[in-house]
Every structure is written in structure tokens, then in C-alpha cells.
């Protein structure tokens, strides 16, 4: 497919990198000029993070951090009002035996469930208290992204109008893999516009790359740059519906782009690995990777999230273990 010579939508970010009136050709030239990723080396680096040994106070601090960074997620066709309310209550109080446990960062649902979450959170919504819980909604014909642009925009606008604080959109992987990088870019810009609320403020935009379908780390790196240039507040690995979902090498590759973007512009982009992270031990490794790749200032729910559901219960169990000295069991934490 030949690159379009027509101008791309300009964002302040793309303007700073590609100049004004940038075309798809300019975008492609830029993305092709980014240094490649050596997969063997990237995997070795990720394995190195896994050898860090977090004990005692470091482990306790890490577990609390993980808990506060979880986007507690349910994205099923079978989601109901009851299911969503249960999840929202758990987001507020993840461990009923420990009132000191932090609440999670957000509840992540389909757009039509946003109002239910809002009702269930009540005064615990982030707008009411700084340690409260946000509402994230997936949009843009999640998870496949195979719909027309008007549908994707309406999907987004609906979720925002229902009260979503954060929008998790998917990129058009088909367009990306066929080389229509300008189309992917323009779609992200359009969805970013659709995130604008009536009062002029914006819902936070997380851009899901679905790295399991992009397959190579070179693609992951290019897609990360593309998403950031188009206006992503967060870049996110996966929908959770495709295997492999989040992996450490993929996450490190994305974090390296975030680090380089910060070095270039001073701007901080968030990161969200999602899917497949079930054990506290694995999640701790992600924290190590974040701290040693982009720096400790990223270890906040504003800049790092875990898209997960069963991870939360494992963190609760590990925290109980640290508090009491012995492991309980699945019967001592709540089912969702």
C-alpha cells in the first residue's frame, strides 16, 4: 500500500517530532528510522529483572504498590449488574480483614456497564476522594477493533458521557500490519478527540497495541512510538483476549520507548501491561522492570497500571502472609 501524501492530523507531539503538515510518508520514514530490537537480548534483559530478590520491607512496599495499581477488570459477554457491583465493591475494599489495604486504581468494564460502576462506587469514586477508584471503559469495538470509525467514535463518546474517567481503546492491528500506519495514527487522534467531555476536559486515553498480534518487538516499538505521537496518555500491551498477552520483554520494550520519549520531551507517558499477570511474584518483577528502566517516579498509579483480575486475590494472600507469618488459602479471600 503506498503511503498517503495527505497531511496527518497534527498533534502537539507529532508537531515536535515530525514538524507541521506531516504526511504518512514522514511518519513511516520516522518509525522505520528507530533502532531495532534484538529479541534474544531483550529476553535476556527481561530475565535479568526476574532475578532481583525482593524481601521484607521491599516486598511489603511492592505488594501495596501493586494493589494500588490494579485496574480490576471484567470484560465478559456474561457481565451483569450483579457481577459488576461485586467487582466495584472489591475494588474499594480488596481485603476485608485489613482496613489499611489500599483500594485499587480503577474498575475496568465495557462501556454499557460504566453507569453501574459509578453507582456502586458512590462516594468512593475518584472524583469524591483522592484515594478513590476510577472508572475505565474499553471502547472502539474492543477487543477486535473491527468496526467503522463512526461506530468506534460513538462507542467512545458513549462511555465518556456515562462517566468513564479512562478509555482503553484498541488500535486497528490489521491496518498496522498492512502498513497503513497513518490510518492507525489518525484513528487514535480521532478517538482522543472523542474523549473530550462537555466541560472541555478529557478522559485519559490508554491505547492497546495488542502486542500478541503485532508479534515482533520491532513492531511493538514502532506501535508504541506511533501511539504516543498520536496522543496516548498510556500505552497498554493487550486486550487479554489474545495469547500471549502481557510479557516482560514486550513491557520492557514499551517502557524503553516511554523512557526515550521522556528524555526527548520531558513528558511522562503511562504504561499498562494487561492479561496473564496472575501471581504477585510476577507483578513484582514488573515493578523492578519499571524502576530500573524508566525510573522510580513511574511507580505510581498515575503512570503504571496492571490490567488484571485474579492478581488482586494473590496480592491479598501475600499481604496476609506477610502480616500473619503464614499462608491462608483461597477460601480466605473473596471470590469475584
Amino acid at each position: 500500500m503506498s503511503p498517503r501524501a495527505s497531511a496527518l492530523a497534527t498533534t502537539h507531539r507529532s508537531h515536535s517530532v515530525l514538524g507541521s503538515g506531516a504526511t504518512e510518508k514522514a511518519l513511516i520514514t520516522f518509525l522505520r528510522g528507530i533502532p531495532g530490537v534484538d529479541t534474544v537480548g531483550a529476553e535476556a534483559r527481561a530475565a535479568g529483572f526476574a532475578t532481583r530478590s525482593l524481601k521484607t520491607t521491599s516486598k511489603a512496599a511492592g505488594l501495596d504498590m501493586i494493589m494500588s495499581m490494579v485496574d480490576l477488570t471484567t470484560l465478559e459477554g456474561a457481565d451483569t449488574r450483579g457481577k459488576v457491583h461485586t467487582l466495584a465493591k472489591k475494588a474499594i475494599v480488596p481485603d476485608s480483614t485489613d482496613p489499611g489495604a489500599p483500594s485499587v486504581a480503577a474498575v475496568c468494564v465495557y462501556g454499557d456497564m460504566v453507569a453501574e460502576v459509578r453507582e456502586s462506587l458512590g462516594s468512593w469514586h475518584i472524583s469524591q476522594r483522592p484515594d478513590g477508584v476510577a472508572i475505565a471503559a474499553v471502547a472502539t469495538a474492543f477487543p477486535s477493533g473491527r468496526a467503522s470509525m463512526p461506530v468506534k467514535i460513538l462507542d467512545t463518546q458513549f462511555a465518556v458521557s456515562e462517566g468513564a474517567d479512562e478509555i482503553d481503546m484498541v488500535i486497528d492491528r490489521g491496518a498496522f500490519l498492512s502498513g497503513s500506519w497513518g490510518m492507525v495514527y489518525d484513528q487514535i487522534v480521532s478517538i482522543k478527540e472523542a474523549c473530550q467531555r462537555a466541560d472541555g476536559s478529557y478522559a485519559h486515553l490508554k491505547v492497546i497495541l495488542e502486542t500478541g498480534e503485532l508479534a515482533t518487538l520491532d513492531n511493538v516499538r514502532r506501535a508504541s512510538w506511533l501511539a504516543i505521537l498520536a496522543g496516548a496518555d498510556f500505552i497498554k500491551t493487550s486486550t487479554g483476549k489474545v495469547s500471549p498477552a502481557a510479557t516482560l520483554p514486550v513491557t520492557v520494550t514499551m517502557l524503553e520507548v516511554i523512557r526515550d520519549w521522556h528524555g526527548m520531551t520531558g513528558e511522562k507517558i503511562g504504561m499498562k501491561p494487561a492479561g496473564g499477570i496472575r501471581a504477585s511474584k510476577d507483578a513484582l518483577r514488573y515493578l523492578v522492570a519499571v524502576a530500573e528502566t524508566v525510573g522510580e517516579q513511574w511507580l505510581t498509579p498515575d503512570l503504571f497500571r496492571f490490567g488484571a483480575s485474579s492478581l488482586l486475590n494473590d496480592v491479598v494472600m501475600q499481604r496476609q502472609k506477610m502480616r500473619t507469618g503464614h499462608y491462608s488459602g483461597p477460601d480466605y479471600v473473596s471470590v469475584d
Binding site: P35, D38, V40, T51, S53, S58, K59, L287, E292, L299
Partner: protein
């Protein structure tokens, strides 16, 4: 405490069962040495770990005699498959005692536990497994149909990879049917003495492996001993040169694995973040105490600033400190003498006008330490671009074209290792073809495997260790000729 300070995670030393003093391992048992004993200290705490005997000339003679008897009566008569069984047994015991050996090595050498646990000791086991497999297949080593063992091999190993270098020497020697007298370095005798215990545990016939401790004089006595058939040495080039001149004109076979000043070449199309990791594993692995270290960084000039900037940012995250802490990346320098040598050469570098940058990490009060250091503005005429520093010090030079990179990389009296970083495979192969170095890594560095031969050009020594080629150092090719059988 911030998250990155990571709470201490020390490996326990309770697994060790060390004796307060060790004798010499000769003829299958520990015996007293004739010389005075000396202490082996931990370079990270300067505390004595144990004391060891110093072998005199008479002790060396005793060890060589024990090896000769074992060779004549047992080992040379044993079938290859029987020898292989012993080597497999040793390999398995090393695996079983991995944690113990890793802790001992980290204490005695100063290198971090993550390296001894994840690299040194697993490779030791791999080396014995690999050569165990060769023991009954020597006829297929490419040396003719009936290659012959040499006899008694005297082996002198350095302090940078104490047990691994022992394995590199002992495994092929034994597989090929030789018996050995091995001397570990005087600052790192501990794991060799534990290995002597492993030989006992494996019920290796007495005298097949003899371990004697001592310093330069002991080594010189080994080299000068008239009844050795083979001398294998890994260490510094000046000592290697002395050995070569002592043994010139004799029938003793010699392999020398000496110093290096490896060039690590970064082209502008390299996968940059992985190249940074490769630069680090090239020179900061094992505190830079690596003969094949990539101590000369050759960066294409158009990406020089970016590479240096990324490298410094990354180096600032490395953790220097207690070698037994599982989160330590950079351990202690092995000895006071080595620390002085590093310090001296770094001062020379500053005096020559190169720009020094050292990682801002905290240095412990006790012990011998050197912060990871990078010199930029280094030119080919500088001493720090030519001499082996053998410490965590990197010299950064630039080049403009592949031809210039090759010329600069080869402009060294050494020739042990080199690295190439590029995403372009054709360039990788073309450059590798023109580099004069025994080992060339592409898009990686400091990776070892028992199946791969290792050795140098010019002042980096001669002979090959590892792989099928490593067997040639311990075998005489068959004198078999068509129509006759000896």
C-alpha cells in the same frame, strides 16, 4: 528507603562447612605442605576465610610423582567409557553442591552471587558433562584413529573464574586420559580445595587429580619440573612469556591463555538498548576481571553521544556491594594489588587527557572496590586504549567506516575477543571475517559454551580450550599410518 534500594537479600553462608585450614591434595588425600601457610581473605570484607598450605618444590615433586603413578597404573589403562563415568559423576556432584560452591566462590573471589549461581557454577557442571561425553569418543576428535594421552599435565589457573578455569583445564585433561597437578591462584584457592573434596566424593582414583596451593614460586616449580608432559596456563601475558621461554626446546606441550584488550564494535544500525546491555556484560561482568572483556568500545562516531548517554544512565542503576546479596551487580575487586593496578591505570588515563566518568554508587568502607568507570575522548595512542586494565573500566573510541573499525580493532598486540553489534547480517559476517580475534561475538558478549573453542591470537596466547579443539591440547595425534598400527 526508596523502592530501588531493595532490602538486603543475602545468600546464607550456613551451607558452607569449611575447615580452618587446608593442606595440599596429593594422591587422593589432604597432606601437610612443606612451606608456611597463608590466609585466603574475602576481598569484600578483608576477613580471613581459611588458611592454606604453600607447596614447596618438594611438594610439587610429590604431586607430580603421585600423578605419574596414577597415570601409569590406573588412568591411562582405563577405558574411555570408565573415565567418562567418573567425569559424569563429578558433574552431578557439582550440580548437587551448586549453592555451596557459588557461596564459596563469591566469598573468596568477591564476585556477585548472581554470577556464581547463574554463570560460573552451572558452566563448571556443563564443562564436565560435555567432556565426559568425549571420553569414549576420542577417535572421532579429528586427530586420527587412535589419539594418545600425554601423561601428567601441570595446570595453573587464575583468580578471575577460579572454579570455572579449573573445569576448563581438568575436564578435557581427564577425558583425554591424562592425570593432573593443578594450582589455583593464591588469592582464590577455596573452590579448588572444595573440588578436591568432590574428587574424593566421586571416588576418583588417587592421584588422578592433585591440587596444590601456593603463589608464583610454586607455579615456577611446576613449570620447571622435568616430569611433566603438558603445561596449561591461564593468566597474565608476562608470566605466560616466562613460561614459554622456560619450556622452549623441551617436549612439554604448552597452551597459554593470556590477556586481551577486546574491541566491542557498535555500528549505528545496532539494536541500541540491547547493545548497551552487551557493552555492560562485556566489561562490567565479573568487575571486568575477564581476559576476553570488551574493554575497548568502538562506537560509530555519529551515535557516540547517544550511546555514552544511555550507557551512563544504565550504569547508574547497577548495584555495587556485598557479593553475597542476591541483588548485587558489581562485587569486589579481587585483591588490593589488583585495585592498585586499576587505580594506577585510571590515573594514567586522566593524565593522558581522557574524560573520566564513574558511576555515583556508594563504596563500602571495608574491602576492595572500584566504581564502574567509562573513559571518553580516548584515542588509539593512549595507554588505556592499549593496555589491559583488568577492571571495571571502559575506554570509548570512535570510528567512521567499517574499514576503520576493523583497523582499530586489530591494532592491538592481543587478539582474544571482539564483539560486533549491527542489525545487518551481511556487515556482521564481513567484519567478523577480518577481525583477528579468537572469539567473536555478534549481538552478544561474554557468552560461553563448552562446545565452543576459546583462545587467542598473538600475545593473547596459543592453543584452544573448549569444544573438540580443546581435546587437541591434551592428546597426541595418532602415529598411525596406512598399513601399520602402532
Amino acid at each position: 528507603m526508596t523502592f530501588l534500594d531493595y532490602a538486603p537479600a543475602p545468600e546464607s553462608t550456613s551451607i558452607l562447612n569449611l575447615k580452618p585450614s587446608y593442606g595440599l591434595f596429593i594422591g587422593g588425600e589432604f597432606v601437610d605442605g612443606g612451606g608456611s601457610s597463608f590466609a585466603s581473605i574475602s576481598p569484600s570484607t578483608e576477613k580471613t576465610i581459611t588458611t592454606v598450605a604453600e607447596a614447596t618444590e618438594a611438594d610439587v615433586d610429590r604431586a607430580v610423582k603421585a600423578a605419574r603413578v596414577a597415570y601409569d597404573t590406573t588412568w591411562s589403562k582405563m577405558s574411555g567409557s570408565e573415565r567418562g563415568k567418573y567425569l559424569f559423576r563429578i558433574a552431578r556432584i557439582v550440580q548437587e553442591r551448586t549453592r555451596e560452591l557459588a557461596v564459596a566462590e563469591s566469598m573468596d573471589n568477591g564476585k556477585p552471587i548472581r554470577e556464581t549461581r547463574d554463570v560460573d557454577i552451572p558452566l563448571v557442571a556443563a564443562w564436565f558433562f560435555y567432556y565426559a561425553g568425549w571420553a569414549d569418543k576420542l577417535e572421532y576428535a579429528g586427530l586420527g584413529p587412535n589419539p594418545q594421552s600425554l601423561g601428567v599435565a601441570a595446570q595453573i589457573v587464575p583468580w578471575n573464574f577460579p572454579l570455572l578455569m579449573l573445569a576448563w583445564k581438568i575436564a578435557p585433561a581427564l577425558a583425554a586420559g591424562n592425570t593432573v597437578v593443578l594450582k589455583p591462584a593464591e588469592t582464590t584457592p577455596l573452590t579448588a580445595l572444595l573440588f578436591a573434596e568432590i574428587c574424593q566424593q566421586a571416588q576418583l582414583p588417587a592421584g588422578v587429580v592433585n591440587i596444590i596451593t601456593g603463589a608464583g614460586a610454586t607455579g615456577a616449580a611446576m613449570v620447571a619440573h622435568p616430569d611433566i608432559n603438558k603445561l596449561a596456563f591461564t593468566g597474565s601475558t608476562p608470566v605466560g612469556r616466562q613460561i614459554a621461554s622456560t619450556l622452549a626446546g623441551t617436549n612439554t606441550k604448552v597452551t597459554l591463555e593470556l590477556g586481551g584488550k577486546g574491541a566491542n564494535i557498535i555500528f549505528d544500525d545496532a539494536a541500541i538498548d540491547q547493545a548497551i546491555e552487551g557493552i555492560i556484560s562485556g566489561i562490567f561482568f565479573n568487575q571486568g576481571h575477564v581476559c576476553c572483556a570488551g574493554s575497548r568500545l568502538l562506537v560509530q562516531e555519529n551515535i557516540h553521544d547517544d550511546v555514552v548517554n544511555r550507557l551512563q544512565n544504565r550504569l547508574a542503576t547497577l548495584r555495587l556491594g556485598d557479593p553475597l546479596d542476591k541483588n548485587t551487580d558489581i562485587g569486589a575487586v579481587n585483591s588490593k594489588a589488583q585495585l592498585q593496578r586499576i587505580t594506577e591505570l585510571v590515573n594514567v588515563g586522566e593524565g593522558e587527557g581522557a574524560t573520566r566518568w564513574s558511576s555515583p554508587c556508594a563504596i563500602p568502607e571495608k574491602g576492595f572496590w572500584f566504581a564502574p568507570t567509562v573513559f571518553t575522548d580516548v584515542h588509539t595512542s593512549h595507554r588505556i586504549a592499549r593496555e589491559e586494565i583488568f577492571g571495571p573500566v571502559l575506554s570509548v573510541l570512535t570510528f567512521r567506516t567499517p574499514e576503520e573499525a576493523i583497523a582499530k580493532a586489530n591494532n592491538s598486540p592481543y587478539g582474544l575477543s571482539a564483539g560486533i553489534w549491527t542489525e545487518k547480517a551481511s556487515r556482521m559476517l564481513a567484519v567478523a571475517d577480518k577481525l583477528r580475534a579468537g572469539v567473536i561475538w555478534a549481538n552478544t558478549f561474554n557468552k560461553f559454551d563448552p562446545a565452543s573453542p576459546f583462545g587467542g591470537y598473538q600475545e593473547s596466547g596459543y592453543g584452544r580450550e573448549g569444544g573438540r579443539h580443546g581435546l587437541a591440547a591434551y592428546l597426541n595425534s595418532s602415529d598411525w599410518k596406512a598399513g601399520s598400527r602402532s
